[in-house]
Each structure stands twice: as C-alpha cells, then as structure tokens.
Symmetry: C2
Subunit: 350 residues, 2 copies
C-alpha cells in the first residue's frame, strides 16, 4: 500500500484553522479569535466578514489547543470514575452529573473500575494526562492519598457513594448505616427476631456501614446475635441465590432477610421463589430497583437516590471549580423506606 493511500500515515485532510479563517476574511488571527470568543470591540464589518468565513470553511475551534494556551487552562471536561457504567446505580449517577454538566457546557469522560484499585489509579492517571478540570470518583481500594497530587495541580475532586481514605475531600453519599438500621427496625416492628444479613464484599466501606447499621439495630431491639445468619462477600446474583438457599435450608432458618444491595436482593428473591417461601419469609432490600413494584410479593426497600447524589456531587464540584476553597464537606443523604409488601410479612410459626 502506498504511503499516499494509507489512511494511517496519510495526513488527515486539513481542518480549517484560525489562520485559514483570517486569510479568507482579510484580518489577523487575533481578530478571528476575538470573534470566536465573542469579545467585543471588533468593527461590525470585520465581525461579518469573519463570521462568513467561519461558516464557509466550517471552522471548528480546537478547544484543546486553546486550553493549552489559556490562562486558566480549563479543558471543560470532567472525569467520572464509577464502579460499573452498566449498573443502574452508576449509570444513574453518571446521567445526573451529565445533566448538571450540560448547563455549564462541560463534557464527561467516564470509566468503570469493577472494584479494582489498580484500575482506579489507571483511569485517574489517564484523565489527568488529559487535564480534566475535575473528578467525581466512587472510590474503591483502601487509599486515595495518591489523588493529592491532582488536587495540588488544581484538579477539583468530589467523591460519591463511598468515603475516601487517606485524603480529605468533599464526599456525597447515602446514610448507609441509618438506612440499614431502619430496615432492621422495620422488620423487627413486624415481630421478626431472626433477621439474616446478606452482605456485599466486606472490603467495600458501604457494605461495612450497612452491616454496622444492622448490628446497631439488633442491639437496640435486643435481637439474638447469630453469626450463622450473617453472610458476607456476596457480589453477584448467583452468590446471593446460593447463600440464601443454604441459609433457608439450615436447621434454624431466619424468618426475615435484610439484603444489603441490589443484586443481593434479586438473588435472595430467586432463592425464595425456588423454595416457595416468597410469601412466608420477609425481605427488605437496600436499593430500589425498577421491577420491585411488579414482583409478587412487591418488594419493600430502603431506597437511595442516585440521581440526587449525582446532582449534589456535581454542584459541589462546580462550586470548587468556581473557587470555593472552604473545608471539605461531607453530604449524607437520607434513605427512604418504601414498604411494598415483602417487608411486612409477619414471622412464620416455627
């Protein structure tokens, strides 16, 4: 293949530059720049000539080039590091931030970390090498101290969903402990005393907080503390289904389940259905999900509001971008209890 016909080595067909526009309009590039940036103090006739040249040449300013030279260096891009762009919680966060970012003409680069610390760092570095103005991060891993370098370089930083470690920065998250407490209280109010805890990976701070809430509620209501009823490290639907089946088939099964996360709730439901116990064993899940209202029984949940978390985080980030350098703020959003049926099933005779 000749050098000429190979699109890889062939130079791209030129896009019009300030120079080209200037030449066509018969002015200097500085004048074109003024028009492009809407600065005033340009003679109307020149504005007209430039505008026409821009249209004729289909000129697109190169935002990266201008950011490189501009005093504030802003790229108008923010980076989001999320657990998994395909999961509803992450994507609701992303979408909420997108909507907020739109008003400011900010673009979003985003990536998934899948609970992998290494990946978190890789993504942040990639974003940093593109000089994003700000970062919104759902942290994984035990130490976010490496992000101090970014902050010192002028990158704004807001965490979501989970508290960061090793760095003080803004964070917006749900009241995980309070929500879990409420769930257990809710079940206890229906008379349950044997309430199982079905939890996500213990290394996840959110999971820890939810377990703490469970624990406190058990103490508060003097429920028996039965470690056999505490299952941790469930990270997939299938994990949760298997664990729930095992639990319910054991010699001393719980009369109610608290599922500390979306996928775990779904897995628990699958297990209950398989054993025909969905109308016998009570269930409250942490996190709402689309079909909760159409299942039988309808599923009671402790709902977070990921859209709100995203919106609040975005607003927080924008304040920082606007120069707010007050002390880091932690915003804890209350959860909402939504009783739909499954959480109000009374204890079965044993």
């Amino acid at each position: 293949m000749s050098q000429h016909s190979d699109p890889v080595t062939m130079p791209y067909r030129q896009r019009a530059t300030l120079r080209d526009v200037a030449a066509m309009a018969g002015v200097s590039i500085k004048t074109v720049s003024r028009v492009v940036n809407g600065e005033n103090g340009v003679a109307p006739a020149k504005v007209a000539a430039v505008t026409r040249a821009i249209r004729q040449l289909d000129y697109r300013p190169n935002v990266s080039a201008s950011a490189l030279r501009r005093a504030n260096r802003r790229t108008a891009v923010i980076g989001m590091v999320l657990e998994d762009l395909a999961n509803p919680f992450s994507s609701a966060l992303l979408r909420a931030v997108e909507d907020a970012a739109n008003e400011r003409q900010l673009l979003i680069v985003a990536g998934s970390v899948d609970e992998d610390q290494e990946r978190e760092r890789t993504l942040v570095r990639a974003f940093s090498e593109r000089r994003v103005d700000g970062l919104i991060i759902a942290p994984v891993g035990e130490d976010q101290g490496y992000l101090r370098a970014e902050v010192e370089a002028g990158t704004s930083l807001v965490f979501v969903d989970r508290l960061p470690q090793g760095i003080r920065a803004d964070c917006v998250l749900s009241d995980n402990e309070g929500g879990a407490r409420t769930a257990v209280h809710h079940l206890a109010d229906s008379g349950h005393r044997h309430i199982a805890y079905l939890g996500d990976l213990r290394i996840i701070p959110t999971a820890q907080q939810r377990f703490a809430g469970y624990q406190h509620a058990c103490l508060e209501r003097s429920l028996p503390w039965t470690p056999a009823n505490h299952v941790h490290d469930l990270h997939t639907v299938d994990d949760a289904t298997a664990a729930t089946e095992r639990l319910l088939r054991s010699g001393d099964p719980p009369t109610a389940l608290f599922a500390s996360q979306n996928l775990v709730t779904i897995g628990a439901i699958a297990a209950l259905q398989r054993l025909g116990l969905e109308d016998t064993v009570a269930l409250v899940g942490f996190d709402d999900f689309p079909m909760a209202d159409l299942l039988k029984p309808r599923v009671s949940v402790i709902a977070q509001d990921p859209s709100r978390i995203g919106r609040v985080a975005a607003e927080q980030l924008f304040q920082r971008l606007d120069g707010d350098d007050s002390a880091p703020r932690r915003t804890v959003l209350a959860t909402t209890t939504i009783p739909r049926g499954s959480g109000e099933i009374p204890p079965a005779r044993r």
Copy 2:
C-alpha cells in the same frame, strides 16, 4: 478577595513539564520526550536520569499538547452519543465499548440525546471541537448528513442501534424486523389471532422496523388486520400502562400483546396486573430485562444483545482507525427468542 487568593484567577500550581524534567536530568527536552515515548537509542545512563527525574517531579505528559503536534493528531479519545446513559440498553452499549477501548488505551466521552436531534448535533460538535478520533452514535433525527464534515476531517464513524440517514457509514444493529416477526409468529403458534402491537414513537426507525415485522407476520399468518389494536408513540412506562388498560377494556380486546420495547413491556405488565389478566393475556416483549425471570408469569422476550452490539461496533471503529477504508458495512445481529411463560399462554375463550 485579592487577586492572589482567588483560585479562579490564581494560576494553577505548576505541573512539571518536559522542560522541568530535562533541567533536573541535565538533558534536552528532546531526550526526555524520547524516554517518555519509549523510543530507543538513548544512552542507558540518560534513561536512568530522566526516569528518576520523572518520578521525583511526578511528571505527567500532557496528552492533548502532544496530540496537537503529533503527525497523526490522535487524541486517543472516542465519543459516544447515546439515547440515555441511564437506560440499560445505552449503558450496556457504553460498557461494552469501554471494555474494547481499554485494550487500546482509548478514553470515552459520552452523552445522552433523549431523542432530541438538536442535542445530537450539539454533542457531536462538542466532541469534534475536542478532536475525538472516532464517534459511535445511536442516531436520532432524520438526517445525519452533517456528519460528513467529521468524516472528511478524518474522524472515524460507526452507528449503532439505528440506521443513519443522509450518510453512508458503518452500522451495527439488531434484526428489529426479524425479531418482531418472530414474536408474532411465536404468539400465533399458540393459537392467537388477535395480537395487539404496543409501539414506541413512530419517528424512531427501530420502532418502524418492529412494526413492519409485526405487519409482515400478520400477513404471513393471515391474522385479521385491526388498526384499533395498534398503539404507537408509547415512550414511557406510564404511557404504556394507560394504553394497555384502555385496549384490554375495549369492546374487542386482543388475546395477546406484543410490546415493542423494554419500558413498554413493563408498562403492559403493570396494566395486566392491575386488571388481573397477567395469566390470561399472552405477552411477548422486545428486549430482555433483568427481572423478566422473577415475575409471575415469567416474561417471554425477544432479546437483543447490547453488549455484543457495542463490542462489534467498537471493533468496527478500530478497524477504521487502523486505516480500513473499504465500503461501509452494515452488521445485523440476530435476536434470540426466550420463552419463559407469558408468551405461551393460550388464547382465552372470548
């Protein structure tokens, strides 16, 4: 507030540049550049000195600056224009493209269009002004001709989910017509002759194709053509619920429903449950969804594979980035019929 303490006007604390690294290592910036880019032909001692300086200064190359000067102008960023980053179909596409992009160290900027043509153009322009290397677009609106300028400027372009209009380019999508045909055949095979069509906005090409599939299947099986049973322009769950209720309460209700999209299926289920008809009226939905397997009855669907669409689109894009300039290719992926119960309910006596 003094000029100095105002973070907006205050210059950002300097990040280390090639110059700084060169000064510390006692070499020219060209030598640092060689080390950073892994070019060989640098004396080992200098490589060591440079490497040490890079570490000490926590140097991060400015990828945008290098792209500006580099011959191929590649930014290593691709843009995705999707319907709604928060909906499962879009987010599955995004995630699949992300996974493919990771292998090539490409970053993704993404945005939602919400069925708004204006927004599609705005997003594309914003991406273009950042000089993305490629675009993956789920097109809305009637004309994608404006994208020719991007292609001529060297931007690779692949459409997903919907065929573009006004431009010839690669496209990866499901066999919408075939899938819809199969759905109706499936219901007809159980003896249904009065099958309602519940469809999304008619302006959406995908919806048109699904209606065409429905139509062909009706002809093929000589089913009565009853316009009263064709409901279009359902775009939300609530729309679909209301329309389905109306239909089932009419004088001559259908014995089976074909819901041409996710949210419509969910709305139809809500209506069936409300009327107590979920075990009486058959239902097949286009698009699978997470809980389909846990509802009662379990929901039969025609499944697309958004992950596969995303992966194939990404691979197609990468081939173009690698210089493939063969004729535009259209990839149509087959759908899968998943019978779970709701689609196998026989016609009720009328």
